[in-house]
């Protein structure tokens, strides 16, 4: 089953690369006109297009890219002539680091809050946690970030921007990226928390929970030992979805905290029509998405023995 999924995933990556290539082709202008900007003239444009090899028809360029990518050669950034691997390497590390950091903060918080509000459902705690979480997700990410900077950076507690270099130690890194990680935590916690709560409550009316309750078990024990294991599948799925978001969707937070991650690279590359970079980053994002979903499916199957023997 996992093998089929991996094969499907690879097919998916191919489709993604095709969609992205096609969409980028549809954008007005090309790399040459973007590089020259306001100072483009027909003559210099033609010369630059020739130099960058933009005059080949689109399918040819796609094939060139694909055949390179299949052999593991993602080519060079047309805009800067740097190998894509160099360009992406450090940024990929940064993006994954921030995503893991934010996940390490948000997943425990979300699960704890979700379980507690399911346990004390309809109490003041439940309502307050819900309202707080909803309030946090209804603010745009950049706005959450500005408020955190106002409270935590302007007072000197944390730096307002991230400046990492090769000599930065792990401790410094955790300290410097705390605010971006906290921003993302506030953004994703609500979704996971609400799903945890809903998944557990959904089971509370089942006969076997009723049975446990009649046996006189404590509510906490019922939730943790009886409801939670069966609610794991949807929870794992929503966690995976949010982890994928933390890797692929954080361009705004990167911009606000000047964090050199993949999101900014992707947006820059799109606006400059640097197709090789766009493709490479899109594939990384798609791989992260497919991979996380695959892991989530495997874990949910493991969490529920019945699913393992379905087919």
């Amino acid at each position: 089953m996992i093998l089929t999924r991996v094969a499907l995933g690879i097919g998916l990556l191919f489709v993604v690369s095709l969609v992205i290539f096609w969409a980028t082709e549809l954008l007005p202008g090309d790399l040459a006109s973007q590089l020259l900007g306001q100072s483009a003239t027909p003559e210099t444009l033609a010369a630059l297009r020739e130099q960058l090899g933009l005059n080949d028809p689109a399918p040819v360029r796609y094939w060139n890219w694909l055949s390179g990518a299949l052999t593991g050669d993602f080519g060079v950034s047309l805009a800067t002539n740097r190998p894509i691997a160099d360009l992406i390497g450090a940024r990929l590390g940064n993006t994954v680091f921030l995503a893991l950091y934010a996940a390490a903060l948000s997943v425990p918080i979300a699960l704890t809050l979700g379980i507690l509000s399911a346990l004390w459902r309809n109490s003041i705690f439940d309502r307050a946690a819900n309202a707080g979480a909803l309030g946090a997700i209804s603010l745009p990410e950049f706005f959450v970030a500005y408020i955190l900077v106002l409270w935590l950076a302007q007072t000197g507690l944390f730096p307002s921007m991230v400046r990492i270099n090769p000599t930065t130690t792990m401790g410094e890194r955790l300290y410097m990226t705390f605010l971006p990680a906290l921003t993302l935590t506030l953004v994703v916690t609500a979704h996971m928390m609400r799903m945890t709560r809903a998944a557990i409550i959904n089971l509370m009316a089942s006969p076997y929970i009723e049975m446990a309750r009649l046996k006189g078990l404590s509510p906490l024990r019922i939730v943790l030992r009886h409801a939670l294991p069966n609610a794991l599948a949807p929870i794992i799925n929503v966690v995976a979805l949010n982890l994928a978001y933390l890797i692929t969707g954080v361009v705004v937070v990167e911009v606000v905290f000047v964090y050199p991650g993949l999101g900014q690279l992707m947006v820059d590359a799109v606006s400059n029509r640097d197709i090789a970079v766009v493709q490479a980053v899109a594939l990384i994002f798609a791989t992260a998405y497919v991979g996380l979903n695959l892991i989530a499916d495997v874990l949910s199957t493991l969490s529920n023995p019945r699913l393992m023997h379905r087919r």
Binding site: L27, P28, G29, S33, Q34, L35, L36, G37, Q38, S39, A40, T41, E43, T44, A47, L48, Q51, S77, A79, T80, N81, L87, F142, Y146, V149, A153, Q154, G156, P159, S160, M161, R163, N165, V255, V256, F257, V258, P260, Q264, L265, D268, A269, V270, S271, N272, D274, V277
Partner: protein, 523 residues
């Protein structure tokens, strides 16, 4: 120093030869009294100067022909020198060229400074200079200034001299050589390596990550004595305006550009930084396509020119850091600025009058704008639209994506927002955007009298006549041109209190003509 201290030559009828050597003479004077070192306070060496700029992209190129934003321009000024520097007072200062002269305005001879070394250790030769210029010329050149330099027919060496021959006389060639696209870079086999960061400038590149950060250390062999005060310079790309403000407030950086006008007052209230607001020739424009109705009728164009409240725009869009423009691309900092031209005010009745002259009762036009054109362009367009309604002109503001703006909208749509950085030389500005058929004539405007004057003024040596010609051209553009120019924008930057700045800040480009890195110091 062939021509030491000539008196200032403005307002004097001097001989042709005198004019052509004038620039060189003033430049030479500049070397004796270095510009920008006017502050009474003593500069001190040391410190790390961090700059946070609202520009820079991961796709920024090291190729000088493709430099187009403040980030790469400032980074370039930190590591390179050019033939000629523009001093803080706008005069030409010798840099890699020690002197320049021309007998006829066609053949120019530049003396090249001896004994200057690149960061890599090699001595600069005339051939390096030639290759640096030729990078922008010829069939295969992909440079943004290819058109500008197409007036050059030949570049060659003559001993330690550089000889440039033009297609036709141009008194302003030395000014062209100050263009930031032409840094002096080391050449091998007559070609510079456009991917190299090697130069002769004040700082040596330590590391560079496009769109993120450049770190540089002081060049111990820098030939200028009273320059390059910092030990290290770091240039950061901080695209978000609020993030830039926060970086300055929390002390992460010492200098930021593009301060949001709305927050200038509050920033000053914090007491951590001061605002430098430098009047300049840069201006915001709304070009109209003069080839087709309704803008082909000058009365329609005049109606629009009287239908906006310029002062309100200066106050709101620029936060007062700028000046009203009279649809004039030549700014107050230019030599031949026509200050006494009849100023157009916000006059809905007069706009209606011109509409009626054009045979129209009302006018419906669409103005396309994006903040890529200039910061606040969409707001400015909204204000224009509101002002114009009183005159029976209905301007629909169409906000378009920043992405692809220059490609898809500018010079493609009939009525858009745009900006010009301003030019030190009148001829340069007019030739670039107002001469008939010019590549960047973004209003597709054509005026016979204007074109005649432009050609004549280029080689005119009588100062008074030349001034008259440029005044007439400004009058024509203002009242017959096809561009609404509401305002000149100051260069606005915020500097941390710990940084010392000269009393006079260059106005030719932002950030002290990009030279803050070598002219400023830690106080």
């Amino acid at each position: 120093m062939k021509y030491p201290k000539l008196p200032a030559m403005a307002n004097r009828g001097v001989s042709r030869r005198g004019v052509l050597q004038g620039a060189a003479a003033l430049g030479a004077a500049g070397l004796i009294l270095p510009h920008g070192v006017t502050s009474a306070r003593a500069q001190t060496r040391g410190g790390t100067f961090r700059i946070g700029l609202g520009h820079g992209s991961t796709t920024d190129s090291l190729d000088p022909g493709l430099w187009d934003n403040l980030y790469v321009q400032t980074f370039a000024a930190a590591r390179h020198n050019q033939l000629i520097e523009v001093g803080a007072d706008g005069q030409l200062v010798p840099e890699m060229a020690t002197s320049w002269e021309s007998a006829d305005g066609v053949t120019w001879v530049f003396g090249i400074r001896e004994g200057v070394t690149f960061h890599s250790g090699r001595t600069v030769t005339v051939d390096d200079v030639i290759a640096s210029i030729n990078h922008h010329r010829g069939e295969e050149a992909t440079s943004a200034i290819k058109t500008l330099l197409s007036a050059i027919s030949d570049v060659r060496a003559d001993g330690q001299n550089l000889v440039i021959t033009l297609e036709a006389a141009n008194a302003d060639l030395p000014y062209l050589m100050t263009d930031y696209h032409i840094p002096i870079m080391p050449a091998t086999d007559g070609r510079i390596d456009p991917a190299s960061t090697d130069g002769v400038g004040p700082y040596i590149v330590e590391s560079y990550e496009p769109g993120v950060q450049a770190s540089l250390t002081r060049n111990p062999n820098y030939w200028k004595e009273n320059r390059a005060w910092f030990d290290r310079v770091e240039i950061l790309s901080i695209l978000d305006p609020a993030a830039r403000l926060n970086a300055l407030i929390t002390g992460e950086v010492h200098l930021i550009d593009q301060v949001d006008p709305a927050t200038i007052g509050m920033l000053e209230g914090r007491g951590v930084a001061r605002i430098l607001s430098i009047p300049a020739n840069a201006h915001y424009v709304f070009p109209m396509d003069a080839r087709a109705a309704p803008f082909s009728d000058n009365n329609v164009r005049l109606a629009l020119k009287y239908a906006l409240d310029r002062q309100a725009m200066v106050d709101t869009i620029l936060g007062g850091h700028g000046a009203v423009s009279n649809d004039n691309p030549i700014g107050p900092a230019n030599r031949y600025f026509f200050a006494d031209m009849e100023q157009k005010g916000y006059d809905p009745d007069r706009a209606r009058f011109h509409l009626r002259e054009a045979g129209l009762e009302s006018l419906d036009v669409t103005l396309k704008a994006a903040d890529a054109a200039f910061s606040g362009a969409v707001d400015a367009a909204s204000m224009f639209s509101e002002n114009a309604r009183a005159a029976g002109i209905n301007i629909t503001v169409d906000r378009v994506p920043n992405d692809g703006y220059w490609d898809n909208v500018w010079m493609k749509e009939p009525f858009v927002a745009s900006y010009w950085g301003g030019r030190a030389v009148e001829d340069h500005m007019f030739t670039t955007a107002y001469a008939t058929g010019a590549d960047w004539n973004d209003s597709f405007w054509s005026n016979e009298r204007f074109d005649e004057l432009l050609l004549a003024a280029r080689s005119e040596v009588n100062e008074d006549l030349r001034r008259e010609m440029y005044h007439e051209m400004q009058q024509i553009v203002s009242f017959e041109g096809s561009v609404v120019i509401p305002m000149y924008n100051n260069f606005v930057m915020a500097v941390a209190n710990g940084v010392g700045t000269p009393e006079q800040i260059g106005s030719n480009w932002n950030l002290d003509g990009f030279r803050c890195v070598e002219r400023w110091w830690m106080a």
